[in-house]
Assembly symmetry: C3
Homo-oligomer: 332 residues x 3
Amino acid sequence: MKRFIDLADFEPAAVRDLIALAQKLEREPEPQALAGKVLGLLFMNPSLRTLASFQAGMARLGGSSFVITPGQGTWNLESRQGVMMDGDRAEHVREGIPVLASYSDALGIRSFAEGKDLNADLAETGFRAMAELVDKPLINMESAMNHPCQALADWKTMDELGVPDHGKFVLSWVYHPRALPLAVPAAAMTMAAQRGMEVVVLRPEGYEVPAPLADKTRALAKTSGGSFTETSDRASALKGARVLYAKEWGSTRHYGDARAEAELRKPLSEWRVEEPWFQSADPRCHFMHCLPVRRNVAVADALLDGPRSVVVREAYNRMPAQMAVLHRMLAR
Amino acid sequence: MKRFIDLADFEPAAVRDLIALAQKLEREPEPQALAGKVLGLLFMNPSLRTLASFQAGMARLGGSSFVITPGQGTWNLESRQGVMMDGDRAEHVREGIPVLASYSDALGIRSFAEGKDLNADLAETGFRAMAELVDKPLINMESAMNHPCQALADWKTMDELGVPDHGKFVLSWVYHPRALPLAVPAAAMTMAAQRGMEVVVLRPEGYEVPAPLADKTRALAKTSGGSFTETSDRASALKGARVLYAKEWGSTRHYGDARAEAELRKPLSEWRVEEPWFQSADPRCHFMHCLPVRRNVAVADALLDGPRSVVVREAYNRMPAQMAVLHRMLAR
Amino acid sequence: MKRFIDLADFEPAAVRDLIALAQKLEREPEPQALAGKVLGLLFMNPSLRTLASFQAGMARLGGSSFVITPGQGTWNLESRQGVMMDGDRAEHVREGIPVLASYSDALGIRSFAEGKDLNADLAETGFRAMAELVDKPLINMESAMNHPCQALADWKTMDELGVPDHGKFVLSWVYHPRALPLAVPAAAMTMAAQRGMEVVVLRPEGYEVPAPLADKTRALAKTSGGSFTETSDRASALKGARVLYAKEWGSTRHYGDARAEAELRKPLSEWRVEEPWFQSADPRCHFMHCLPVRRNVAVADALLDGPRSVVVREAYNRMPAQMAVLHRMLAR
């Protein structure tokens, strides 16, 4: 495997193979598999799970990793093309990224959405420009509109929980004090479609799934025997759901317009997941969230601490899922 | 060993066993003992020795570690229970800590005193709440009122220097521009009591040892054949001392009251250790301090650079002491 | 090898031996050579290449490393002697450095020029004071007036490119919004002289090579059959050049005088390397720069992206060059 950029680049069977490898590495550790190998980790944005799970996972396979966090012990990196660099960014990604790749056997890059132009973010212009500079195996540690490591971990989590391949998967918008990127919702809805699930996106008006993403999700669903719909009707959305996957994201109608977005968001603070949301759901319905989550803002304490929540299991699965990816990329 | 939270949780014989193991690992390195094992390190507060000695120690045993420092490449973590998280803390420890533990074979946590309510800090409410979330071996890397790694290193240092088990151990308050936590003084006085020493705490009025800590120290001393007293009379305190252990701490009379504390502290800048302090001490009396230390504020240059000072040895001993703990926790 | 502080401390034959070892380690990796060894990395100033290449290089030799960055998860360190430490620096290097060295098999230190007193920086008073505190193998990761790791990587890069030992090496000043240290220009000119090259320093008036550095460069050139001259005439400087090595540095005439320096610098923004600079150079002339570089400020985009530029290769060579140094220091 040369690139792990988008889970949709892989056939469902290939994803299932990766999950099987992840499970095998859990049962039969291979502490020498990546001896002498080095994973470079470039974080243009903050992290907790991604940093820790990649470093721990690489170590469990016998390899090593280093972390570069521009703005934290390293100067900020410029990524715009053709600019005169007379501001506060001392180095361009056109040098920085090939150099880090040259020290690495594989490179992971995290670079969030710019949040100004929806089409540019949907086209992954930022991440693509960086990816073109890397001549080593490359892992997307979250880009503008994708988070394949999270998606792989979530798929594995649902397998372990016995969520049927064709079960109902409800991705619900939840409240957050400010607009967040669409990377995780995009990765979650496409992953669930790829898995063959009945995908329903539940969101208030103004937070619609952008057309290119809806088209991609629909196409993946079609291939796998799933479906994709979108609604703002909570009760119908959750009817018979096997999974409620909550996520905060910014308005797609007012993308990049902070004032209009704030106005739209203001009355929506009741979009906080609580137990009554599950009334019409399948009794076994699980609650998923990629974390970090703001307690009692996006989700009630009782739910996170209750039996429906599998958020820590999801986060744990980041490690074995990524170990499978690294093993595929780097083991002999 | 499942938890290394408080040195007083171990019998003196068990502490001596740990020190013997530390010394064995110094003589006979075991660079494969913890191959494939991962230590997670969570620093809610800054560090130099603790970070470096845990990472180096784990590496010397063949294992690996990762570091999470909220506020440095990771968002800040909320630790209050039941709050609506609409401020600047994006993740709760109730998610963050179990997740980090899930990537780790053992977890170290540093979380200083809140410094507001003395009884809450004495009860270790903050650290205990975090510790309850960890289902892996757990190491206290400094909590509100404890620093068992420092205590173990200090005990080992005294052994190496030939300080008798029943020698006189003077813990003296020294000046600092602001109120610091009581973790190290608490750990030092209880450790010395546990070792069977004649423990004297020397401090100005207003900086008394809180009653629960005095009781604990007295009880440990009784079991080990030592003693515990408290005074503000420097000459009598230091008479015959084998160790002068200096430490800065905040007023226990005005705990959490910054203005009253500053007022009380103002005239105390002469509590700076200098050679004349040792006039009545045993000629072999050593000077100890856990570091970091403000030169010429808490201690004079000449003393730190002179033959009495063993501060670098103390700091070095953090590494083998912690290696013994890690070996006990994680080696087969 | 006990210290790698200045490439000029080594005979040219010894430097060539190091490069041969670096090349051998590229062909025949030794992933167990430094098993159980720990490299401490202390960064008083920011880094990207140095951090990543040392961590990756150490890992490729089977060893480990830890990173301490004062101000980033660690308090700031005081380095002035004899001061009363009542400010914001909580620990002195007199404690901090010996402690970090005690955890390490080798220690790397980065400590930039203070930029106030040219003679003090030329005398490396800051780095020397720290180096005296280290009783382990020590690596200079960039001091006030030196950067031997960069110099060794650059020498290796020129060898690989077939730049003749006696070829013409032009070190040119280039524009930067503010005064930068002289560490890299000093390391580059002395390295090229040591290699036996025809060294020409091209710079505007006011940016002259300080006399002690010119003397050192001249002496090294004499021993190796090279030469050293200095000019502000671009065309004559570049005539027949095999290498144009660009670097930003502060005025040596107004060293430490920010206002006078800014005035002198203002009209010099046309000192930006572009293709026409190479008109009279050897057609094979390579463009070198240690990075980070400000695109379109110091160097034009087209040049950095064109075939003359070897900046990424230079940066890559940091890793094998440093691996050779570490191997010499630490392998049995």
